[in-house]
């Protein structure tokens, strides 16, 4: 390769780069943010990156919407010169989008319940409460088991 940087390769794969950036951003938010809602947001970004990946791979250069021209009688006239985009990934990702919405809403509903139960949606506080619960259980029930095994 004579060039140090293959610009054509980079520009030609821009949809993949964006996908990777979005995916990493999403994952990072899930990992780094302690707020449960923010985690859900991160998860959303992560999922959206996948939607983008799917949509972009269905696209064919110069392709048009995959709708066959139909004349008034309903007869299909296929024209081999027309290039169509691949509809399948788009259809698939519709399903994934629905799944994503369901996940988000369920996650948010859970957060509401967690807020009611723990009075916080900061993961650190929740973990602290849970550790205290574990420690209490351990104090109450641990002794009997400690001596054995």
């Amino acid at each position: 390769m004579e060039q140090l940087i293959d610009w054509a390769f980079i520009v030609g794969h821009v949809n993949y780069w964006l996908f990777i950036v979005l995916m990493m951003t999403g994952l990072y938010v899930v990992v780094a943010r302690g707020n449960l809602v923010k985690k859900i947001v991160g998860l959303n970004i992560f999922q959206v990156s996948v939607f983008m990946l799917y949509i972009s791979i269905g696209k064919i250069t110069g392709g048009t919407a995959p709708i066959f021209p139909v004349d008034l009688t309903g007869h299909i006239e296929p024209d081999p010169s027309i290039v169509y985009s691949n509809p399948l990934p788009h259809v698939l990702i519709l399903t994934a989008i629905v799944v994503g919405i369901a996940t988000t809403s369920l996650g948010l509903a859970l957060i509401v319940r967690i807020r009611e139960a723990y009075d916080t949606i900061e993961e650190e506080d929740i973990l602290k409460i849970e550790r205290e619960m574990t420690a209490e259980d351990n104090k109450e029930y641990g002794a009997a088991m400690g001596g054995r095994a």
Binding site: E123, R131, A135, N138, G142
Partner: protein
């Protein structure tokens, strides 16, 4: 169909229906039926392989009938009958069911045509028999039972491991002679040998026997003494005939227990040691492996089960009436328990191989086989062991229980069922000794051995009476060690004392090292310790729920690793 009905199933069916019958004489009577049916089934079963099937891709044969299996099956049924008669008075469902399951498993193992079936029954005998120990209900019996169970289960685990390897080598699990493979150093067969060895109480593996038999209930000991070790002898005779190392193992087995038996105070333990010694004779017979020797092993096992049960029964009857089986606390019982005394003497005469008693016509087969194959040193050891047996089982047991100094105990004679069981057994001991032809006809190979020759009778009498002379002289001169309230160390010391103390020592060393280390660390950084506690404490890292982020991170890391591997190769 009926002629191939597996005899062990009779016992299992019996164990299932026995608890449904009201406790009492009726139940005891019904329990006696099962060994009779089993013996009849065994007697009528045609030779050959029956009930073969495929299991997990292995060829399994539930019933393999030949003469070697039949003689063991018959004596096991007979022993079960006598023991159950002896235990007529017992009103404990656990013991009754355990006894039937135990006898059934032993008989099932004897007829097992493959190692997998053998394994199932092998463990069956272990699990069923431990309840006979636990049934005594004391804390000591519980711990002893645990130790016994561990040894027995270990033997089974080793057996199944060996069977798996054997299957890898040969492609089948047929239970047949493995002597050639063993001689070639095949690891699977060595494991199987070892498993048999544990159950057969090889030297250094023997201690479970002396540990557990005296701990069981009165009737439990009688039942225990019949099956487990003889099953092991059968397995050795089946799997390793003619394996030379067995001769030396057997010789050592005959030898060392007699020393222990002389100084042991608990008479049931004395009998356990002499049981070990008698097993040695059989193991030597298996090791020689000639037709004469294997006949000797089978005949000796047959005779041995009877007279050993008889001895355990008579000591058990004394224990039943007096609450002790210690030589130091017994004596002079002949006045009130004369019948028990006579039966005990019959058992003693049989184990000592007096002419006209059963030991005489079985033990001599093995001694002759040893001499015939030019194992002179072994022969001399066996001869010494025979004299020694007479010494501790033949003289010591009856003498210290029924004669010696008067202990002042005046117990009632044993109950009728015990007397009947002992009487029947004693009758069989004498009948076999006086007229050995029927027993010889049961043996796996044809017999052309004549036990009653002038030379044999006179030399045997010389050996025995001069041993008695030695006893008398030593007794009268006061050299003979008195019966003392004590126990003697045996190999169980290694795991009951040495093991724990070594572990204690180690834990002390490691513990103090750890304390030293933590102290050192606390001096350097208190923070490190806090962190250590947090990760290793009761709510330690391994068991704690991770924050979600950390979980996700672990996914990412694993994905990275997998991708890396995939692109690398």
């Amino acid at each position: 169909m009926i002629d191939t009905f597996p005899p062990f199933l009779i016992f299992f069916i019996g164990a299932a229906i026995l608890p449904l019958i009201p406790q009492g004489n009726l139940r005891s009577a019904i329990s006696l039926i099962f060994p009779v049916i089993s013996a009849w089934l065994i007697w009528t079963m045609p030779e050959g392989l029956h009930l073969s099937m495929a299991f997990v891709g292995l060829d399994i044969t539930l019933l393999r009938v030949d003469k070697l299996a039949t003689i063991f099956g018959l004596i096991f049924s007979l022993a079960a009958f006598l023991s159950l008669l002896y235990a007529w008075h017992v009103r404990d469902t656990v013991q009754q069911v355990a006894a039937l399951l135990y006898a059934g498993s032993a008989i099932g193992a004897v007829f097992a045509g493959d190692l997998i079936t053998l394994f199932f029954f092998w463990e069956g005998t272990a699990i069923a028999s431990v309840f006979l120990i636990w049934a005594r209900g004391t804390e000591g019996a519980y711990h002893t039972g645990m130790r016994y169970l561990i040894m027995q289960i270990a033997s089974g685990v080793i057996l199944i491991a060996g069977a798996a390897l054997y299957f890898r080598t040969t492609g089948n699990v047929e239970f047949t002679s493995m002597s050639d493979l063993f001689a070639a150093g095949d690891i699977g067969t060595i494991l199987i040998f070892f498993a048999f060895g544990i159950k057969c109480a090889f030297p250094l593996l023997h201690n479970w026997l002396q540990d557990s038999y005296p701990a069981a209930t009165i009737t439990g000991t009688v039942i225990l003494s019949s099956f487990t070790t003889k099953l092991a002898v059968y397995s050795l005779a089946r799997g390793f005939p003619g394996t030379e190392i067995l001769i030396y193992i057997g010789a050592v087995m005959t030898l060392f227990p007699i020393f222990y038996a002389v100084i042991e105070n608990d008479l049931r333990r004395v009998l356990a040691y002499s049981l070990n010694n008698q097993l040695g004779f059989m193991v030597v017979g298996v090791g020689i492996g000639t037709e004469l020797a294997l006949n000797g092993t089978a005949a000796h096992a047959f005779a041995h089960i009877l007279y050993k049960s008889l001895l355990f029964m008579s000591v058990g009857a004394v224990l039943f009436r007096t609450g002790t089986a210690k030589g130091s606390e017994l004596g002079g019982l002949y006045k009130t328990m004369p019948l028990t005394m006579i039966f005990c003497v019959v058992g003693a005469a049989s184990i000592s191989a007096f002419p006209l008693f059963s030991g005489f016509i079985s033990k001599s087969l093995i001694l002759s086989a040893a001499a015939h194959d030019h194992y002179y040193v072994i022969w001399a050891i066996l001869l010494f062991a025979s004299a020694g047996v007479f010494h501790h089982s033949g003289i010591k047991i009856p003498y210290f229980v029924f004669f010696a100094h008067d202990s002042g105990l005046r117990p009632k004679e044993a109950p009728w069922n015990m007397l009947l069981a002992m009487g029947l057994t004693a009758f069989l001991c004498i009948a076999i000794g006086a007229y050995p032809a029927p027993l010889y006809s049961l043996l796996p190979y044809d017999v052309d051995y004549v036990p009653y020759t002038t030379t044999h009778v006179i030399t045997q009498l010389q050996l025995l009476f001069f041993s008695a002379l030695a006893f008398t002289v030593l007794m009268r001169t006061g050299i003979y060690p008195p019966e003392l309230k004590s126990i003697n160390l045996d190999t169980d010391w290694t795991y009951r004392k040495a093991g724990p103390s070594v572990i204690h020592w180690f834990s002390w060393v490691i513990g103090s090292f750890y304390t030293w280390l933590t102290k050192l660390m606390s001096k350097t950084t208190e923070r490190t310790i806090k962190r250590l506690y947090r990760s290793h404490g009761p709510e330690g890292q391994m068991a704690r729920s991770w924050p979600t982020g950390a979980m996700v991170l672990s996914i990412a890391v694993l994905l990275g690793a997998t991708l890396f591997i995939n692109f690398l190769v």
